[in-house]
């Protein structure tokens, strides 16, 4: 056993020695491995899906010292043609001359980029094509910072020419080009001309944007941040004009002074920013103003004024130690309404930020930030107040907001003032809500980490609103989960709405002439949302369910909602227990018991339950009305759906449907009715059983004395004549051209009728006689 271990140990030692010798040989003579031949093989093998080809490809690595190597890579007409069409193009000229140094931290760094020449032909990238190699997830934070291997790099000569690069994606085509040059003279500027043409899918003409950047910096020569003078100028479509200037000047004691300004206009929005400050290794301070104005948006101006930022750093390491920011915020909403409109008052507030690093294990690389925002109006807005707190934590060198917890609270003390403020504007609140006054509180808390697959916002809101005849006390609690998914994030909202006490007044209604105040959903007008609803409502149409927003909102009443109407003397209690999901509404809407005059007699509405069915099916109806008259109890059952309600009658003592209808309509048994009343009772039974009456007609039917009912079962057309107070009559019907039986008999008064009879006598042709007649049956 001992010999075995000895054998293994000596073997491993031998291999390590061999590896060390090989590494030393490569370190001293890198060209043994890093040469043109191996490079060609590596490019062919690893890049085989890109089918690389070249006229010339060469790598020459020299070794000025043991840990410093100089690599010169040259290529002529290096072309790729990805097998799925993802990328196509050629590097006409590629020359990279760089010096690399090996160390401990970082392991490899580029100390000098002597020459970088990149000249391309046309490059074509189709991002919608399947890529041969799946792209790895990019670290967005790393992309925004200078990589550690390049931080001390000096630059000699740069010559980049990309005349035309075409990027095709599902949303459109982007064409761009860049020309950048930095000559080797020490005083030369880095200049870059960039252009981009954006073309949406289906459009022929694109939008072109041009930018010119002039960069004067000794950093390129010295490998450290010493001074900078940069100018950026951009012009293009949508009225883009932008100019920016950044100046970094060295001060005494190794400190730097920074001044920057930017101004620009794009799509009607204007930006203006100024910054001045100074700093060194131990930190710095700066003052800045930023203002964004928008001629058309709901927020006309947002400004951060008199901002002061102070930051400290650990002198030895340069790690940030703390940061403080104070700003004054001014928000100016757009004027509401039209010509007269209201001039909205500005909202002012403060923004304060305090951040500090905290030691994490051995290094002070955790940075924690507390942000406080408080916004309140100059005056008015019903005591509106918005308070937001954010706790952010991140790592130095990475994102400062890897962990986020944001809390916000908004409150309105006097809702009535808000109503009055918005009155006459596009944002005016609708009746009967606008009659309410009181307080509203809203709170939300967001927690999440950068890179999380999902973030969550939890919120709750409370209302305590009331008016002389109305009340709205409700609580909302829920959460929204935000899930990044491609370019559009997905939202999953879950809410519980508890209606604690709601009293609402319904609008004035009449027995006749009521119109739906909601536009008919069957008629398209060109408004996309509405048209989509119309298309989805068609028989057999697939109902699109948006996957961008998934919601599950439950609405409950803790005590029934009380509705009052001029048509019903008693208040109407309604209980809700419904859930709203993208597939539709489910649950129950239940009208609780109350007394109401039905068929000229006090009756008890036991319940009327509406059960919506998800998926667009009709809402099921289940109702019971208890009607008592002369020792007879009649249960009127509402069944079917809201679109086609049917009525079934039960009685104690038991009677047939026709007898019950005769009893409730006229207070008599069928034997006591005249023929027209009997026919009316029969027609009413037929019409109600077959769902010919709508709900509104049923209400009218039950609440108003009925004179006569005509019904044609073939066409399901009906005509009901009601007796109105004062002796007037109201005819309500759903006549159809095909209906031809409604007017055969016209009841004029008790025992009097007008009857049209078709005669069968052939000798006088097709005779029809109309009689005004008195009649009786026994």
């Amino acid at each position: 056993m001992k010999r075995f271990f000895k054998f293994v140990a000596s073997g491993v030692l031998g291999l390590l020695t061999l590896a060390a010798v090989a590494s030393l040989v490569i370190a001293i003579f890198p060209a043994t491995v890093l040469n043109t031949r191996y490079l060609s093989c590596a490019v062919r093998y690893f890049g085989r899906d890109y089918r690389p080809s070249w006229v010339e490809l060469a790598l020459n690595v020299t070794s000025p010292s043991l840990l410093t190597k100089r690599a010169v890579l040259t290529a002529r007409d290096l072309c790729v043609d990805e097998i799925h069409g993802f990328a196509q193009g050629c590097l006409r000229t590629l020359e990279i001359d760089a010096t690399v140094r090996f160390g401990l931290s970082p392991l490899v760094s580029v100390t000098r980029l002597e020459r970088a020449v990149v000249h391309t032909g046309d490059i074509h990238i189709n991002s919608s094509a399947t890529r041969a190699v799946s792209s790895k997830k990019k670290n967005s934070d790393a992309a925004t910072t200078i990589p550690s291997w390049a931080r001390s790099m000096t630059v000699g000569e740069v010559d980049v020419r990309v005349p035309r690069a075409v990027l095709v994606s599902s949303s459109g085509t982007t064409i761009g080009g860049v020309t950048a040059a930095l000559h080797s003279e020490s005083s030369a500027l880095l200049t870059a001309d960039v252009y981009t043409i954006l073309k949406s899918t289906g459009t022929k003409k694109g939008k072109r944007y041009d930018a010119n950047i002039a960069f004067e910096s000794v950093s390129f020569r010295e490998g450290r941040l010493a001074s900078l003078n940069a100018k950026i100028r951009a012009r293009g479509a949508d009225g883009l004009t932008a100019d920016a200037r950044v100046k970094l000047e060295p001060q005494q004691g190794g400190r730097l002074q920074l001044t920057a300004s930017a101004q620009g206009v794009f799509s009607g929005r204007a930006l203006e920013a100024k910054l001045s400050g100074e700093g060194g290794k131990d930190g710095g301070r700066a003052a800045f103003n930023i203002a964004v104005s928008d001629r058309t948006g709901p927020l006309r101006r947002a400004a951060f004024d008199a901002c002061e930022v102070k930051a400290g750093a650990v002198k030895k390491t340069g790690y940030p130690e703390y940061a403080d920011l104070r700003c004054r915020i001014t928000l100016l909403p757009a004027p509401f309404g039209s010509s007269k409109g209201l001039t909205p008052k500005a909202l002012t507030g403060t923004l304060s930020l305090h951040g500090k690093t905290r030691a994490q294990v051995a290094r002070r690389d955790r940075f924690e930030t507390r942000v406080d925002i408080k916004i309140w109006p100059v005056e008015g807005y019903g005591g509106f107040l918005l308070v937001a707190e954010a706790d952010l934590a991140g790592s130095v060198g990475g994102s400062f907001a890897e962990e986020r917890r944001i809390k916000a609270k908004a409150a309105i003390d006097r809702f009535g003032e808000v109503v009055r403020f918005f009155d006459g504007t596009e944002y005016a609140l609708p009746a009967p809500i606008n009659a309410l006054d009181g307080a509203i509180d809203v709170a939300a808390e967001f927690t999440g980490r950068a890179g999380d697959e999902r973030s969550t916002v939890e919120y709750d809101a409370k209302t305590d609103l009331a008016s002389a005849k109305q009340k709205l006390i409700a609580a909302v609690k829920g959460s929204a989960v935000i899930q990044p998914s491609g370019t559009v994030p997905r939202f999953k909202i879950q809410s519980d709405v508890d209606l604690k006490r709601v009293v609402l007044e319904l609008p004035y209604l009449e027995l006749k002439g009521n119109s739906s105040p909601i536009p008919d959903k069957r008629i398209k007008t060109g408004e996309p949302k509405r048209d989509a609803v119309v298309d989805a409502a068609r028989l057999g149409a697939a109902r699109p369910v948006s996957d961008a927003v998934d919601y599950d909102v439950s609405l409950r009443t803790l005590t029934p909602i009380i509705l009052s109407s001029n048509l019903v003397k008693a208040p109407i209690p309604v209980s809700l227990d419904v859930r709203a999901k993208p597939a539709g509404l489910s649950g129950t809407i239940r009208v609780e018991g109350f007394n109401m005059e039905v068929f000229r007699q006090n009756a008890r509405i036991d319940h009327i339950t509406f059960t919506p069915a998800p998926g667009g099916a009709a809402t099921a109806l289940d109702g019971k009305i208890v009607y008592k008259r002369n020792e007879v109890t009649v249960n009127i059952l509402l069944l079917g759906t809201t679109a086609k309600p049917s009525v079934v009658f039960e009685s104690d003592p038991p009677m047939s449907q026709d007898e019950i209808v005769a009893f409730v309509l006229y207070g008599k048994t069928p034997n006591d009715l005249d023929s027209d009343q009997k026919a009316s009772a029969g027609n009413a039974t037929n019409a109600m059983a077959s769902g010919a009456f709508g709900l509104a007609s049923l209400y009218l039917f039950a609440s108003t004395p009925v004179d006569s009912v005509g019904y044609d079962s073939a066409t399901q057309s009906y005509q009901v004549k009601f007796k109105l107070p004062g002796g007037a009559t109201l005819a309500v019907g759903s006549n159809l051209q095909e209906s031809r039986t409604l007017s055969l008999r016209k009841r004029l008064a008790r025992h009097w009728e007008l009857q049209t009879e078709a005669g069968g006598g052939s000798r006088d042709g097709n005779t029809v006689t109309t009689f005004l007649q008195w009649f009786t049956r026994y």
Binding site: S339, K340, F422, D423, E426, A428, L429, A435, L504, P507, Y508, E510, G513, S515, S516, P517, D520, R522, I523, K524, T525, G526, A537, L539, G540, D658, P670, N671, K678, A679, A681, G682, N683, T685, N686, A689, S690, S713, A714, T715, L736, Q737, E738, R740, T741, K746, L754, T756, A758, S762, D764, G765, V768, T769, T770, F771, Q773, W774, F775, R777
Partner: protein
Amino acid sequence: MAGLLPYRVRSKSAALLLFLSSFATAKDLCPRVRFSGPDPKLTEVEKRLVCGDPGSDSWKDISLPQAREFMTAFLQKRGRHFPRYETEGDTLVVNVGTMTIVRSLVGRGLEGVYDLGKRRKVVGRPLTPHLLDQVKKAVLFELSSRGYPCAKATLTADARTGEVRIDADPQARYLVAKIEEPTGLTIDPAVLRRYEAFRAGDVLDARMLSLTSDRIKGDALFSSAYYDVSCSTTGLRIVQRVIEAPPHLITIGAGVDTEGLVRGRARLVQSRLGRRASSAEVTLTASRREQSLDGLMRLYLSPRDRLYLSPAAFLRREDEVQYEAEHAELSLSPTWASDAGGLRLEVRGGPAVDFFDTRRGQGPTNASWFQFITRTQVTSHLYEYYQRDPRDGWTATLETAHRFKGAYSDVEAHWLRLSGQALWNLGNFSPPAAVLATRAMAGTVAGIDRAPALSSLPPTDRFFLGGDADLRGLARKQLPNDGSGFLTAIYDGIELRAGDVLPYGVQPFLFIDAAMGGSYGFQLDPDVYYSPGVGVRWASPVGTVRTTAGRGLVWRRGSELGPPRPHWQFFFSFGREF
């Protein structure tokens, strides 16, 4: 302008509407809402919703966006789908926009079942939610008339193009199968089978159910009748429901008959004689031309059977232009009826004893005789269904009366009369665009010479022409001029009537009637009498009113009888249909 009128207005009436509406002046609906174009005339409820209800704390202030939403719905109800809104301070200025007129009606799911091109009164009308409801109902009615009582349909429309679209699912096609009978009747429920206008296995047609219900309601035995048709996942269910009426019905009334004469009538009906629901009725009628007392019984042999005995008697005094007479008859006629293949056949025949006394004119005095009378009638169900709004179907009736010399009759004579009507809904549009109708009659008295015929046959058995019932260019029973009556006559009238084209149900028509008469049986005189003319029909809520103006003309071909003087004849009738 193109934006205001996104499509060409096809309908003349719609164009007229638009033209008239352009003259309307701007009007303040209320202090906060003003119309800058025509006033759409909102109802009180609509006005309170748009302007605010001063009597309600909660609804007194309507926000402008809310008022706009309400106004959009109310204007949509009036066919205006593109209103424009402006706010002037606190005032909402509403330009109601142009009215959208339906330009096309298209459908899906109706292929091979119903041709939407036959649906009129949609294209050219203002596009409103109510119109969509009507079209849906009409299409479902058409489907239920073709065996699809459980059809489903959704209606949508595009206000930009004026297109109305119906997506239909006819579902299963049903045949007449089991119908649940009503319960709790005092009569045998099988009685209801007598009235059925369909047979088991027929394609289920809602119109035939309705026709059956009409037949039942027409009988004094029932005051209400209908079929409850319901569809569910288990299939179709048809339940018949009726309400029995008390058996005795007394009516006393006055009416206007088709000749514009006032008529009084008293009637006693006993509609429930036993469980077979046999019936008896006595009717007393009086008008200037006729006073009569009629008695009739229907004695059914079994509840379900359509065979019944019909003993009948009448006493009648007639005072016509050509004669005045008293007439009595006692008859017993077995009658049988059947419905099949969209037709109703009724056959009646039996002995009768008549008494006739001619007081004025040519005819027997104090004469009585025995005769055998028959009546056979075939009527299409569609004719019967649309009898009160004629547009389709046909009917034909053959009546005979036979007297045999020696069989309690002084003479032998055979009276034959074949008459009929047919109507065509031209193009099968619904509602009809035009209706072509024809009516015809051919009659003769055979087996008797003219002289004995004039003395032995009552004037009611001879043929007089003229009047609203046949030649509308002549006065009632004006032909023949000598007042003796024809022994042979033929008549045909053709009428072309506009359908539902003009507003308020007014229907103009053209007609031409032509007739020939003969002084002997099976012989016609050469002269042809004809009457072209025009008329107007109005289907009023209580009955049809018709007025005609016809020119009585003669094509002289050598008849011995002198022609009537050409003149314009006007008729105003109430209730008569062609």
